[in-house]
Structures are given as structure tokens and as C-alpha cells.
Symmetry: D3
Subunit: 142 residues, 6 copies
């Protein structure tokens, strides 16, 4: 068994503002991230999968299939987008990197079965870096 | 004489759209950067100054004075901001990194005289990285 | 559940010298790190916490509370300090990065309860890089 | 207990070509990596060990012993080498980074007992980055 | 006037061996880089151009034109290739990074005129990093 | 003509304190860098040389000769050292990175003639990074 991690990059804009809080509570909680017109980041997304190495090909995952899945389910929807205005999941939820990570994990999980042959490889973890100082990880074992 | 470079980071959002071009020309020219709701970046700004080393203190520049100037003239105006909506220079000009670099250079130049003692040190160059793939430099010698 | 990692940086000096060993044993064991007047590093400290995402705010941890705790319990004591001369834990123990990591973990653990609301989030791991070649991790599960 | 990770670098060349597949299947599967004369990479190898901290020395592992083991069992055989032509394990197996990682792990495991005193420290994980986009990990717990 | 630098990556293999020297002189001069079956690197190529910013579009260079030129004249010929066996310039010259840089500069210069409109922008410099320790630059002013 | 840059790393400790200033002036000027017991850094030193490429060997500089010069004249004296206590140049001058850069440049210049054949290559520039935020450059043209 081996773990393979593949790196993707995208950029997006967002504004952090919780609808259930007052203006001043939002400013206190999110600081500069609550500025009314939003800001953005260069996000780094690492997708980790786990599986056995095929003895004939020496590969644990077909990278083209992974790239297609990430391209279609993730990058097309969020790369060079405004998360608040253009991604449906953030009509309700605040587009923090926590919630963005959970949304990316859900989108990968839901497409996994049709992208890969049964049982091989498994989605194990995603890691999203909003800046080099703030990093978020979501894994299959909770 | 020595050159000192100090690194700053900020994030901002923007949309690239030239008012003198048609919708389809804009899409063709700017691609994903023309998406209507904008996107954003983690910018890295390097400010390079040049000057002699003070024999008593061993310093070429008082970093606190440089930080104050960059903080007041640059970061306060553009960090965690939407460049199109919140920075006056981009009412007319398109907020490409070329134009953002020129604007940052002008703002530093205009405040330089009152931030530092006469003739020491000189603003030599700025460098702005929009991503690790695209880097822009503007220097005092054109 | 999500894991959030936040990065801090500090610099410090130290000398590696075990009081129970002879001069020549110390030189053999620690090499250049045993030079009598010490040397120093730019340390990178990553603090990883684990917790659920608050559905109202989209946050897993209040970063200001974490920054305050790290600032008060860690950085104030060791940033720009000589570990041997100024940090009490290293009166007895040798200030290797192993011991520095254990000391940082103890300081974070002991302050955790008063810095955060009960049970949320948990301190999961710290990672300290002395250089990019030598990295040390200490985690809550031993 | 602490985890220590030490970074090594090497460069090598390889060609990906599975003997059981046809020419066109190989081209379809490996793309540019199947070019007939090979290509190469700067690999980054991180070796992670786990053990208690010696209370007298403050160390979890004797780095010189680890460096000797990695040097003799790994770097001497693969640094600045053509993996297909010069490493016996790749007479049969395709020198993908998956298989290279497994081979490195086997070579470290087999030499571990004679390089270190009994039970301390344990080899926990290796991580090999072929580029910053493709990373492979193999750990002791499968 | 502004300088724009765009980053490209490629990997290739090579062997350093000067035909005018004896076997032992080659080994002494090039060390491990003279190993008979070659080795390889992940090269990082930075192309710097210089020009005025178009007041209508805010751009100094059309990146698509630059990418096409680099793709066609450089990457297609050397990415995932064996420099000795597959690049004609290295039938005679030794494929050191010095010579590789000169070859890349010549290929960019020769295609520049047909890739861009007259006089705008100018090729100013290329920078090629063989590893993070060894970096080579060639510029238009010698 | 080509420019070659080679990277070296070292770590050292220092305290910034100007003998001609009072205690409180020193604290105000240097801040945390004036802490009485010192602190330290992982310094990154880039040495840039300039010269023609030898048509027979494809090399612009003999790296072993450069490594020997840097090793003997720079690293042996300052790596894993306390700059204030162990480097003679800092008996008088404050060991700021400005002064450290000037000292390194002087040491390289003074040894250059005996390390390399006449006129080839020339020492062009050194660059010293104290942290990734503060970078210092000294070049042969002042």
C-alpha cells in the first residue's frame, strides 16, 4: 500500500460574513476578511489517495483519471471564481477555508466511484492551503 | 553601497476587463481572469532599497520606517481589498499586475521623501509576484 | 472534523552540550553544534489543532485565541532568545530540537484549557523545523 | 515519543515502459515518461523515524548513523544513476516513483537492524517527491 | 517600462562527458555527473521580458504568445528528453546547464521576431535552475 | 558570458548592539535583536560569478574551486559560530547582515585571485538572506 499526493493550484475570491451575526460581530470575528468587496487567495490543493501498486505498471493511481475528476468537479467550478457569488454551496455556508475544504472533499467523494475502478485507489485526505500560514486537512477517517 | 530587499505579503481580488474592448474581446484577451465576479491572489511584494551602511549602526535602512511607509501607503489601501472596487487608480486602469506594480511604485516614490532622511536610502526596485509563475519588476532606472 | 495547521516563525540561539559527558564526547556527539559560543536558527513552528467546524461561522478555531496563546506561552519566551541562558527548561535539559519541541508542546498543553472553550478544538500535533533538513513532530497520541 | 524527519536529495534518470504492454499501450499509459531515451528528476527523500528522546543527550536518533545508512544503502546506488540501467530492482519492475519508494523502503528496512541499537528508533515512513506536484509515501503500518 | 518573468518547468536527463578529454580527466572534472548511463533533473526556467505597459489592456506581454513560443521552441524539444541523445546542439557541445542555457536563449531569440509584434516586448534574460543550489543566467546585454 | 549562482547555507548567532549608543538607544534601534544573550539565524548565501563558457568543457566555473574558497574563507569561520564572539571583524563593527555581507564579500574578494586562474570567472555579487523577509546584496559595481 502506498499513499500518493497530487498538487493542484487555483485562485478565487471570497468574503467572510455570517448572515446570523450583526455587522459589528462580523467585523470583530473575521477582521479584514469581512471587508465588504472581498479579497482572494492562491489556494494550493493536495489530494491524497491510497492504494496498492499495480505489479504490471508500477502505478498506484491513473493520474489522468484523477486530473479529469479534479478538473471537472473542482477546478471548473471554483478556479478564478468568486466563491460567494458563483458556488452554490456558499449561498448558505460562509466560504471559509474550512467549509471550502469540506465542499471539495464532498465533490471528490461523490465523483470518486465513477472516476476509478472499484476499490482502487481510495480517497484518503485533502489538504488546502489558503496561505503558507493557514492549512486545512480533511481525511476519510474523520 | 548595499541593496536591501524586504518582503511583504497581501491578498486582494480583481477582475481584468478593459472598458475599450467588447465582451468577446475581453474574454479572448484575459481568459479566466475576465470571469465577471472576479477572483484573487496572495501577492508577494519585495521592496528593494539601496544605500550606504551606517558605520555606527551597521544598518542601511531603518526597517521600521520602511514598514510604516509600506503599511500606510500600500497595505492599508490594497490588502484584503477588491482592487476594482476599492482602489481609485483602478477606476480607469485595468488592475493587471503590471498596473498594480506601477501603482505601488508611484505610491512608494511619492511617500519616500517624508519617510526617510535626505538621500538615504534610495528606492531601487519593486517586485510583485501574482503567483510563483508570474512576476513583475519595476525599477528606478526605467 | 477538520485539522487546521497554523505556522509561526521564531529565531533563537543555542549550544548543544550534555553536562554528563566529557568535552571530547560532547564534540564527538554534537559536532559543530557543540562550538562553545553557540549558534542559531530560524525555526518554523506549525501548530495543528483538530475540531468540528462551527456551522454558523464556518470556523474550526478562533485564530486570535491561538495566536494569543502561542505569543504569550511560546514566542515571548523563546523568540530572539538564547535557549541555554534564558529558558528555564534548558538549565537541565540540552536544548536540542527534540527537547525544544517537547517544551513547546508542554507549554501549549498547559495553557490550552484557559485559552479555548471546553473540548473545542484539541491540540493535535506540533512540528518544528530547525532547518529544512531536520524536522521534529510531537503529537497528542504519543 | 517523537517523530524526526530528515531530508535527502538525489537526482536520477529513468524511462517508464512496462514489458508486458505493447508500444502503443505504453505510450498511452505513460505519455512523455515513455520517451525512448528517458528523462530525469531531482528527487527529494524524507526519512521519518520514531523513538523516545534520550534524557542525557536530548536526541531521538543519531543523525550520523542515519546518514551513513542512507548514504550506503540508498544514495550510493541511485544518486546520479539511470534507474533502468543501473539498479537491479528495475530489471523487472518499472522504475515509477511508487516502485522507487518501495525499493528505498526495503533497502532502509533491511539495513536498519545493523545501523541502530535494538528497538530505537523505528523507521516509520518515507516520502519521495518526484516533482513538487507528485509525492509518494510508504509507512511501516501499511 | 516593466520586466515580466514567467516560470516554466521541464525535466530531462543528460551525461556530462567532454569528447576531448580522457576517461579519467572526465571523471575528475565532472564527478558523479560523468556516470556512464546519465542522470536527470527537474529544471526551472524563468524567461524575463521587458517592455512598456499597453495603456488599454494593462499588459506588457501577451502571455499566450510567450507560452506558444516557449512550448514550440523549447519544451517540445527538451522536456522529458535525453539531452545527449535527442537535442542536436548536444551532438558536439557538452549538455552542461551553461550550454543548455545558451541553447535555450538562442532558440528563444531566433523565434522572437515571428512570435511578437515589432519591438515589443524584448527578451531580456533567461534563468535556469538545475537544482536549487546551481543557477545560470544569460542576458541580452552579455 | 554567463552568470552562475551557487547557494550555500550556514547558521550563526549574533547580538546587535552598537557600542557608541546608550542601552536605551540600542533597545529602541534594534528591538528584539538587542536581547542581551543573542539569537541566531539560518543564513542562505548565494555567490554569483560571471564568465565565459569554456567551449571544451561547457563550464563557466570550476565548482570545486568555488566550494573550496567558500568553505575555507567563509564557512569555516562563521558556520555554527557566534559572530560577536568568534569573528574578528565584529570586534568593532555590529554584526548586522549588512556588515556580515560586506565581510563575506571582502573575504571572497581577497581569496579570489589565488583560487581561480587569471580573469576567469569574476566575482559579481553576493546575496545573503537572514530570513526570507530580509535579503542583502553586495555587487562588484558598487
Amino acid at each position: 500500500m502506498i499513499r500518493l499526493t497530487r498538487r493542484y493550484r487555483f485562485c478565487a475570491s471570497h468574503r467572510l460574513h455570517a448572515p446570523g451575526l450583526s455587522e459589528s460581530e462580523n467585523r470583530a470575528l473575521y477582521g479584514k476578511c469581512n471587508h465588504p468587496f472581498g479579497h482572494g487567495h492562491n489556494y494550493v490543493l493536495d489530494v491524497s489517495v491510497r492504494g496498492p501498486v499495480d505489479p504490471d505498471t508500477g502505478l498506484a493511481v491513473e493520474l489522468e483519471a484523477l486530473d479529469r475528476l479534479v478538473g471537472r468537479n473542482i477546478l471548473e467550478a471554483i478556479d478564478h471564481r468568486n466563491l460567494n457569488a458563483e458556488v452554490e454551496a456558499f449561498r448558505e455556508a460562509v466560504p471559509t477555508s474550512e467549509n471550502l475544504g469540506l465542499e471539495i472533499y464532498r465533490r471528490l467523494s461523490s465523483g470518486w466511484g465513477s472516476a476509478f475502478p472499484p476499490n482502487r485507489p481510495a480517497l484518503e485526505k485533502i489538504r488546502i492551503a489558503e496561505t503558507e500560514k493557514n492549512i486545512f486537512e480533511i481525511s476519510s477517517h474523520g
